[in-house]
């Protein structure tokens, strides 16, 4: 028997899409009858359902603001949460979240997941997010005394650490990359792991003005959305020519291969028309097809990926690969949304990644010095100017960094830009120019 009546939530058990309500109910039931010794409230799931039902009625959330909890020595990784109806729902009186650092690209062995489940059944609510928006495994709902216990078991028994929260480096995340994608221009998984390990201190001890996110996309398709949601976006690319298998191109034209790997097969779009669907849609118009041979003027190609996506069997990314590095993306809070700005058009991405780490540390030094409290990197770059940012990073300006040159001529010339400097003698001036 369910502890609370949940007529509104029950509506969310209907329909075909997996129902989180059904899932929480099954967990509630299992918790009721398990023989495992539970260290967090047995009725956590029941009371969460009850609380959520109440929220559905009131239409205003019933979690209190914040709550400072954590594990010793870490400034991040735990989000405190208290319910504002503790007497009605004691099982979720305190319901803190732990962020656990996910493995690169979110591959798992069932052995590890089971260990995690066992731990979370015993010491938490038995509910998780797989995964949170930043990428972490989210263990949803436990009490304050359990936090250190969980951390102990995670580190000692699971060889696994917490992720980040607060004004620090957030848990880095990456696309699937070379594990299963032919478009990967560098090893996103290896880089993500390496930087996560290198910057453990920054991840766990808030020392920045605000949060800082790295995300690693293997190519301009951008499967982890780094350009929109990372303070530093590393996006794979290449400098040489797209590799063409002319025979395979003809097979696409002949209809032997389905365009776009079969992505459009749910509807009849007519026969594949390379002229219209590839040549005509190339944003730089740098391709030609004479009926037999595909030509690409690679110097004019901006590597948008379209032709490669349409004909993955015939076209491959180049071989001189690396990444473009962009800085400053963020969601609207506070100054409005920003995408990352191209700062380093190309960098080789190879172990031990010294060049990249050097760049990261220069950015952090500058931001830590200049950034205001709760000012994201992108906002600071806007405030101090992109030129200043480049100057600090010792990067030469390049037309690749801009959409178009400035249209206002309000140039902040520096004194050293102007011959003779700014100091002039008004008396000398008056000799030639009467008042």
């Amino acid at each position: 028997m369910a502890k609370h009546k949940t007529p509104m939530l029950d509506e969310l058990e209907k329909g075909r899409w997996p129902s989180f309500v059904s899932d929480i109910k099954q967990e509630a039931e299992n918790r009721g009858k398990t023989s495992v010794e539970l260290h967090a409230p047995k009725e956590a799931c029941d009371d969460l359902l009850g609380l959520l039902e109440l929220t559905y009625k009131d239409k205003v959330v019933h979690w209190k603001h914040g709550g400072i909890v954590g594990v010793f020595g870490y400034g991040g990784g735990v989000i405190g949460r208290y319910c504002d109806q503790p007497d009605q729902f004691p099982g979720v009186r305190d319901f803190h979240t732990m962020r656990v650092n996910q493995p690169s690209s979110k591959f798992y062995s069932t052995e590890f997941l089971r260990q995690l489940c066992d731990l979370w059944e015993r010491r938490g609510s038995g509910l998780t997010n797989m995964h949170g928006s930043t990428g972490d495994i989210i263990l949803l709902g436990t009490t304050t005394p359990q936090l250190e216990e969980i951390f102990w078991e995670l580190t000692h028994d699971l060889n696994q650490d917490l992720g980040g929260s607060g004004s620090n480096l957030r848990t880095p995340s990456d696309c699937i990359g070379m594990a299963r994608c032919e478009y990967a221009c560098y090893d996103t998984m290896a880089l993500c792991y390496d930087l996560t390990m290198e910057y453990q201190d920054e991840l766990h001890r808030p020392a920045f003005p605000y949060k800082f996110k790295f995300k690693f996309d293997g190519c301009p398709n951008g499967c982890v959305a780094s350009i929109a949601r990372a303070d530093m976006s590393v996006i794979g690319t290449w400098r040489d020519d797209i590799r063409i298998d002319q025979g395979a191109v003809r097979e696409y034209v002949g209809g032997e291969f389905k365009p776009n790997a079969g992505a459009h097969s749910g509807r009849d779009w007519g026969t594949f028309d390379i002229q219209k669907e590839v040549i005509g849609l190339c944003p730089t118009q740098c391709m030609e097809w004479d009926g037999k041979k595909l030509k690409i003027d690679n110097k004019e190609c901006t590597r948008c990926m379209h032709c490669i996506n349409v004909m993955p069997r015939a076209l491959r990314i180049g071989q001189d690969t690396g990444a473009s590095i962009l800085f400053g993306a963020k969601a609207p809070i506070l100054e409005g949304a920003q995408m990352s700005t191209l700062t380093v058009p190309f960098m080789k991405i190879e172990e031990p990644y010294d060049e990249l780490k050097d760049l990261i540390e220069k950015v952090w030094d500058f931001w830590s010095e200049e950034g205001k409290n709760r000012e994201r990197l992108g906002e600071m770059i806007q405030r101090v100017g992109f030129q200043k940012f480049l100057e600090v990073l010792e990067i030469e300006p390049d037309p690749r960094m801009i959409q178009e040159p400035r249209s206002n001529p309000y140039i902040f010339w520096k004194e050293e830009d102007v011959p003779g400097g700014w100091d002039r003698d008004i008396k000398e001036f008056r000799k030639k120019h009467q008042r």
Partner: protein, 371 residues
């Protein structure tokens, strides 16, 4: 052994980081790492990747709830043990991927996934989310766990996906469509570059708990948190507190983040805004932000009917009208926003004209419009 509260620092281990991903790669992935040549989508939700070694990996992608129980995860593990040698992965958009290294293992896996249902009748593992169709909705915490949400997350997503279920399992769209949800302007989910974004917004300025404000909050922090400078110090009944210039408030909730004595969520005031036309990829056109096309819809638990209805209107107008490979935002720009509102049937109101910083860059400064 284990944690000792009396001696909390004894044998403490810190900063060990995540487990090394190499421990978790299925053998076929490990052996062909970086050697993949091409891929094909065999049918919705089923991918085949071919390596230069000749090896193939078959992936079955199924939609998952971001919120899942350990019981559910154990069931996922049971499937992966039975069919996939004990490995699996999750995608950025909360799908689950089961991989097998031989075509003969595909059918039994698919059949096994297909038949599993929750007690309430919903599918546990709907297959789909590939190609020119709809994939899983990424979303934030909502009423399940956060303190600033204007809307629920998991519930809204459930209702939207129930309605669009067939399009998760099909690939009949002009291009892929990414729907995302964030329950407040903080946008943990970064929905601002999605084809369709569901966003929770507040419409009432913060209430002021003068009685407790000074004890609960650092007043200067609350004042500094406001991006529009709407908050100033005040004294009420001899207590130090703040005052809010209501007409300057844009309901961002920053003050509440800094100060729990300034809540702004409200039964009537908070609800849903819809944004469209954003994208992340560099494919053909550049990445772009989503634009607000529905300024407000009320919170309507449990089935969120108006939100679901508006999303269907937008989505199906696009699906009917757009060219092959054209993303929703590219379509809207090609036909023009005046046509977008005509074709979707959404009303255009004053709230859709920008009045924030740099607003004028979004006003029309030409006579090139359509009648």
């Amino acid at each position: 052994m284990g944690y000792d509260p009396k001696d909390p620092l004894k044998d403490r281990i810190t900063d060990i980081g995540p487990r090394n991903y190499e421990e978790f790669l299925p053998p076929v992935i490990k052996e062909n790492y970086g050697k993949w040549l091409y891929h094909d989508i065999l049918e919705p939700g089923v991918l085949m990747h071919v390596s230069e070694t000749g090896a193939k990996v078959y992936t079955v992608r199924v939609g998952g709830c971001r919120l899942m129980s350990v019981t559910h995860i154990r069931e996922i593990c049971e499937i992966a043990d039975k069919h996939c040698g004990g490995y699996l992965r999750f995608t950025t958009r909360n799908n689950i991927e089961f991989m097998v290294d031989d075509e003969s293992k595909l059918k039994p896996l698919m059949e096994d996934l297909e038949k599993r249902e929750f007690a309430g009748g919903s599918k546990k593992f709907p297959r789909g989310g590939t190609g020119a169709g709809l994939t899983n909705v990424v979303h934030t915490q909502g009423w399940i766990h956060c303190h600033t949400p204007a809307i629920d997350a998991s519930g809204v997503v459930k209702c939207v996906m129930d309605e669009l279920y067939d399009d998760f399992q099909n690939m009949r769209f002009p291009a892929q469509v990414r729907i995302s949800l964030a329950c407040c302007l903080n946008m943990c989910g970064a929905v601002h570059c999605s084809d369709i974004a569901i966003l929770g917004i507040h419409r009432k300025p913060p209430m002021l708990d003068h009685e407790h404000l000074d004890n609960m909050c650092e007043i200067p922090l609350a004042i500094a948190a406001c991006p529009t400078g709407a908050i100033k110090p005040a004294t009420v009944d001899g207590k130090k507190t703040v005052a809010v210039k209501n007409e300057r408030c844009m309901f961002c909730g920053n003050c509440y983040t800094m100060c729990p004595s300034m809540p702004l969520a409200d039964e009537e005031g908070s609800g849903v805004a819809l944004l469209v036309g954003g994208k992340i990829s560099n494919r053909i056109s550049e990445p772009k932000f989503s634009k607000v096309v529905v300024p407000f819809l009320p919170n309507e638990p449990p089935r969120w009917d108006s939100t679901v209805e508006a999303i269907k209107k937008i989505l199906y107008a696009y699906v009917e009208d757009a060219n092959k490979y054209e993303r929703l935002g590219d379509w809207a720009e090609r036909i023009g926003w005046e046509r977008f509102f005509e074709k979707t049937g959404l009303p255009f109101t004053e709230h859709l004209i920008d009045d924030y910083r740099f607003a004028y860059t979004t006003w029309r400064q030409s006579t090139q419009f359509k009648f």
